[in-house]
Symmetry: C2
Subunit: 329 residues, 2 copies
């Protein structure tokens, strides 16, 4: 299984994590995805794993010369979709950064090429593979909280100093698609329901000279079966906080309430009586299941359809926030 990695501006470490667990996976080439993208850290990490990849300056030439089975694509965000399309057109399976596109038009083109080429595609919605979110998912499947009725998800990040491409909407895509998409994914994945409409807002105030980057946002969703969901997103986590992020979700069902908080899972229902910390389940290994899907032996936890749908939801939420109006799906 030959793998090429394009860029290092996103979550390529997910791919490394899966590759480490797969004796037949081999990183054969790496390349920046954009002019000015520094891939030195990627190179040294791949080297430490014992691979000696060829280093290209042009990812398309890399695809054509090395003919990999899989391209891992995580460059400056505005190029991910275009490069995924170039890879798919050459019959290469793609593991691409989320959101998989920065506009509805790009998303439609990506889907259309995916349908024509019939390659496999997954995206870096890697938080599904954390023990806490995976355990929450299992508990819901085991019907511990009954029918889901209300969800609230939170993403809170330190801002720090971000690369220049974060400072323009055209190259960054927006905070709802970049950060909020995880929270939107939890809501969709954990509830198993589709979105009906969204109302969202965002604000660029107090973004510490990050140009067009939005510092805060909310999304509110009506879902199938009158399920209600809200999301809070911010880049205002204090610089001195012990962790980079503060990911949370609270899920209210007809029989109980489930929460993910501080990497732990808490359950309250008529059986537990009090809020009870639940032992974490071992999740699947990120990217390893995609390698196996390419082999045809397993289904990847993050399907192509989910990758497209969650990207769509984040782009419609961004549109709602930009236009100040409710958007129907």
């Amino acid at each position: 299984m030959k793998i090429c990695i394009v860029g290092s501006s996103g979550h390529y470490v997910y791919a490394l994590r899966g590759i480490k667990e797969d004796p037949d996976a081999k990183i054969v080439g790496i390349s920046p995805g954009c002019e000015g993208e520094n891939i030195e850290k990627l190179f040294s990490q791949v080297n430490e794993m014992g691979f000696a990849p060829e280093v290209y300056s042009n990812p398309i030439r890399m695809f054509e010369e090395l003919k990999p089975d899989i391209a891992v694509i995580n460059t400056f965000f505005y190029k991910n979709s275009k490069l995924a399309i170039e890879a798919m057109k050459r019959g290469i399976h793609v593991y691409v950064e989320k959101p998989v596109a920065l506009s509805i038009e790009e998303l439609e083109e990506l889907k259309s090429v995916w349908k024509q080429t019939k390659v496999k595609l997954s995206s870096m919605l890697g938080l599904r593979y954390t023990p806490h979110f995976w355990t929450a998912y299992k508990l819901i499947k085991e019907n511990k909280i009954g029918e889901i009725r209300l969800l609230h998800a939170q993403k809170s990040y330190k801002l720090g100093n971000r690369p220049d491409f974060y400072k323009q909407r055209r190259t960054y895509g927006g905070t709802i698609p970049w950060v909020g998409i995880h929270a939107i994914d939890w809501i969709y994945w954990l509830s198993g329901k589709k979105f009906k409409l969204v109302f969202a807002r965002h604000s660029r105030l107090y973004n510490n000279d990050h140009g067009e980057l939005e510092t805060t946002a909310f999304c509110s969703f009506l879902m199938e079966d009158e399920i209600l969901a809200t999301v809070n997103i911010d880049y205002l986590r204090p610089a001195t906080a012990p962790t980079h992020d503060d990911d949370r979700v609270r899920i209210v069902g007809t029989k109980g309430i489930l929460e993910v908080l501080n990497g732990k899972v808490y359950l309250l229902n008529d059986t537990t009586k009090e809020v009870t910390e639940v032992s974490l389940e071992k999740p699947p290994i990120v990217f390893l299941d995609f390698l196996n899907e390419v082999r045809g032996t397993e289904k990847c936890l993050v399907s192509s359809e989910d990758s497209f749908y969650v990207t769509l939801a984040s782009l419609l939420a961004r549109q709602s926030a930009d236009e100040g109006k409710v958007i129907e799906f």
Copy 2:
């Protein structure tokens, strides 16, 4: 200071709490506010406090015969506003259940009578007087989190079996005005900012035969200065949970993050470095400050204007949820 209490379907215990601390306050009369309202428990509580109030069946007659200084009004929700108007027209100050009206028209009438009669009015937004919310308020005033940018508030209640008047919108008013109003109040009071627009939804599904009562809801607000806020409301707290409610608020500022959770207050900023539990401050005593406002010696924490404004916000949120559209303030 002569006080009459009308009804016992709301939070008259707030009034009892203040009266206990005030040697000059005296409960002189009690009455149901509606036909069929049982006030036996109120009677015995007032008795235990050492008062021997006259018991009326008609609150208007009680107002006219006993001429109290203050009427405490908390009957079936649809009658609170009407009875407050009757009291005010007789020059009686009113301490009334929230929401202070169940429709915009009623609210306008109440405000208009209040302006004409110049009596004092406050409402049972009593959670402001809890040590945890009061401490959060003080910390914000002390600038511990900088400029507020994003808020999320939660109300989660056990449903149990509610009286029949909860089962009709006409008599109950809706879950956003009845339960959500507290969360809306925290957002308004803690941020000190006005609302610009609201988008809300609610659902009656799984309300356990409670007719028109909404089981779940969210509200999302754009406020002044692009401050964003969301609210989650539910009646799905498991019956066996250790407490009736699970009140929360999380406030994200430019310099820190503050949370109220489980009756405690947590602060994270560049000084605390980690999420730190804050010692609780002693709040003012609920209703006692209203007694003093009537005397002219103090300002009540819940002003007339706040009571009207927070009721308006909850009614516009309900309208948004009913009509499925964004409502501007």
